[in-house]
Symmetry: C2
Subunit: 490 residues, 2 copies
């Protein structure tokens, strides 16, 4: 036990309370290293007697030090100095991320933007030379300089209003821009008043729960975007998984499910890559129109990337009865860091939002909204999209060319849009076998089973794997597929 008491100089004349003087002295001793981790302090009784003060005063000082993490009280044993560095210990790099991945979440689309950077590294103890992640995107052509320039210009004439809290729905200027963009590019006919801007799709779904209310039965495609399903389940919404044919969700099964809400990705279903044809869209719109409380959520994710024929207008574009909740994001088309998504609400739900939820403060800063607005208005967004479309198109065509050799073994689908392709095995070797075989060659592929929320009986579907190419360079695609083909054709 350190000879602590001898050193303390209490000054009853000091404005500081005695307990504070003791507290500060001991804290200083610990911070300066005079008291070392694990050292025992004198008991409060002993210290009180020694200093001729009340024991309560010492207890208060010790209590404060315990609550601030400098001391630890061990029952029956006394007070000991804590290892305070521990407080700020940074976990070994990647530890947090590994933990996150360990929870089986990689299927969440915004999950692996950095997959490219980890492809030569270790993951879950496995080394991959090439990771065909369907989530990864290519940021190499992003106009960083333009983004910086816009940011700089905005901040140069920043007024305090830019630093104030904006409208709960988002800045009107950006909502006008988004409504124009949606009209021009996706055929969506919605007014700026119907648009809610939020920090990501997940946040918009949280808000939507507050608008729609409780216990709404939801129907989802199967396989589907797992993160959305986890979110609905976190709302305690009962989720039904509706089987799909080559045109998408089956309307009869949807009708039988009793769902009020159907979550669909008509532009390029994730992960199957199905583009829903107009007939099926009409059937789903009809389903929604049959009852007042029915709505469709259109997740228009990656609709920006379509390589053959004209872009297909959104489901919302055909939404004559105002039944479609349209959700889009700039996370994929610009960058995952841009935490800006938007939701266009049908009139009925807009009214409910205004009545019940419009007090929720905006989750996107006005500065970020202003930067994005200028990026779109000045035409940079369109140029960047066009560039990326060409860029991904080249990779897409290269994928198809390189995969030609596999056509006798695999059916290729989900092409012509998005950033991934689906290979369905004609020999039905089993997804796990295909994955393991690829892994042995250093290639990460994504078995379709991982996108099913409830795995259907094996007899129902053929083995399929997903290959994303967004973040890989043409050389990496060529070399990765060479290794993959060699592995699978052994």
């Amino acid at each position: 036990m350190k000879e602590l008491p001898v050193q303390i100089q209490l000054n009853p004349e000091d404005k500081k309370h005695l307990y504070e003087q003791i507290y500060e002295y001991i804290r200083q001793e610990i911070r300066s290293g005079n008291l070392l981790t694990g050292e025992k302090l004198p008991s409060s009784r002993y210290l009180a007697e020694f200093l001729q003060i009340s024991r309560t005063t010492v207890d208060m000082a010790y209590g404060q030090l315990v609550s601030e993490g400098y001391l630890e009280a061990r029952p029956q044993r006394g007070y000991f100095v804590c290892a305070i560095e521990e407080l700020y210990d940074i976990p070994a790099s990647g530890e947090g991320r590994k933990q996150h991945r360990g929870e089986g979440l990689f299927a969440g689309r915004p999950g692996l933007p950095e997959a490219k950077h980890t492809k030569d590294g270790m993951e879950c103890g496995k080394a991959y030379r090439y990771d065909f992640s369907p989530n990864a995107i290519d940021m190499s052509l992003f106009p960083y300089a333009t983004w910086k320039k816009i940011t700089k210009n905005i901040l140069v004439d920043a007024r305090s209003s830019l630093f104030s809290l904006g409208e709960p729905q988002g800045d009107l200027a950006l909502r006008v821009t988004i409504s124009r963009y949606l009209h021009a590019s996706r055929g969506v006919n919605c007014r700026p008043e119907q648009i809610i801007i939020g920090a990501g799709n997940d946040y918009l779904l949280l808000l939507l729960e507050k608008i729609l209310g409780r216990h709404i039965p939801v129907a989802m495609e199967n396989p589907t975007y797992k993160r959305a399903c986890m979110i609905f389940r976190s709302f305690a919404y009962p989720v039904s998984f509706i089987p799909m044919d080559e045109n998408g969700m089956l309307p009869d099964a949807l009708r039988k499910s009793g769902a009020q809400l159907a979550y669909v990705m008509p532009a390029h279903q994730y992960p199957t890559g199905i583009v829903m044809p107009i007939g099926r869209r009409t059937e789903l719109l009809n389903w929604a129109s049959e009852k007042e409380e029915r709505y469709l959520i259109e997740d228009d994710y990656d609709s920006e990337f379509r390589y053959r024929s004209k872009p297909i207008p959104s489901l919302k574009a055909s939404d004559q009865n105002d039944k479609v909740i349209y959700i889009g994001t700039f996370s994929k088309a610009i960058a995952p860091a841009i935490r800006i998504s938007y939701m266009a609400l049908p009139a009925g739900l807009l009214e409910r939002y205004r009545k019940n939820c419009s007090f929720y403060a905006s989750t996107v800063s006005r500065i970020d909204q202003t930067i994005l607005n200028e990026f779109i208005q000045d035409g940079y967004f369109e140029r960047y999209l066009n560039k990326m479309r060409k860029h991904y198109h080249l990779k897409h065509d290269l994928m198809l060319r390189e995969l030609k050799d596999l056509e006798k073994d695999f059916e290729i689908s989900g092409e012509n849009a998005g950033l991934h392709i689906v290979l369905t095995d004609r020999k039905n070797r089993g997804e796990e076998a295909l994955r393991a075989c690829a892994e042995d060659a250093g290639i990460k592929v994504y078995p379709m089973a991982e996108f099913y929320m409830e795995t259907p009986p094996c007899t129902k579907r053929k083995a399929a794997v997903i290959l994303g190419y967004g973040a890989l360079s043409p050389e990496e695609i060529t070399e990765g597929l060479r290794l993959l083909k060699a592995a699978w054709q052994k």
Copy 2:
């Protein structure tokens, strides 16, 4: 009816489908102004016959134009050109805001940061020369140049990782910085792993609902921060309002309420300005420790601004049994536009967050997190806080000096911290009378009744009004109070 058909040149050899050619022709006619708003188009039957094509083709073209908002279908009458400018009509300035305010939401603290700018303007048809809003803050000393410099430097060496999606809980670097800041300034002893960064307090409460689960009975102080109450009610959490004495929430009433969760503002209760003494804090902590499922939410709003004596450590600092959910924000201490709040979770809830909610993507961009992190780490935050504390201190002292004349009529409380003062009328003239009288003199004051969720019987409390001074200059305070005193002392 426009002689439209004559002009259309259909080309069957064109790669474009006929319906698309019709669609594009009409769209171009509308866009170029050849077809004007309200003009009737030929019926689809007529046009099909004229062009010698199938009527379905024309219907498809018309349908597309309707869904894109170019045409409007009027039953029994035909198709008419829409006024497309309407789509992008910007509501008259301030309309959106007025609507928002009209919903009685001004009591929400982050509500009126721009009050200063509107004080000479019209609001709800009333003109105010000086608005003593308790929500408004002073941005005049904000180090815009520093913020810009940091932003610029960060973007200069921006790597793509900065544009990628960060950890769901927030960037570790910022969480480490926040945990250090909380430790140093608020005595909070929490590890970076316990901190969740989110886009505003409202978002963090939404996330907390997912962590805590359903139907959690909540206790709130009364009067209180109304927005939090509205949020709890939007969760369908039953909310009880607990009476307060001069030390804050009454523990016996809290115990009787059956609440599992108590939302308190110990540092400077909003709006009463009560600073909860240690004894009451201990009582509340004891209440929480009695049952496993009980927790306290500590909203540590505006704890940064304390003008007499040392800052009081947070409730969380005394939280030996890990029962306090600590919520703080940078909206007041930096700027409302900085949509960054943080929540420190007790170990038990952290586990539940990791298990059930950690898939929710972060709502704050990595760029914003990095800027804030540097702003704090480089010492700018501390300097700015010190400057603002002095600045607000001067205004606070000026308020007290100027209000001295009113002491015979009013009891003054809630001083020494925060950005507002409470005046309780000794003559009990009635809040509405005081407010109306001030309004006639062009002064906006805030009756206490507006902060009560359920107005207690008049006999229970004296009339009180709230005067905020954050955004007013010393000259404005002096002149505003001169007018107010003259009005009330008439």
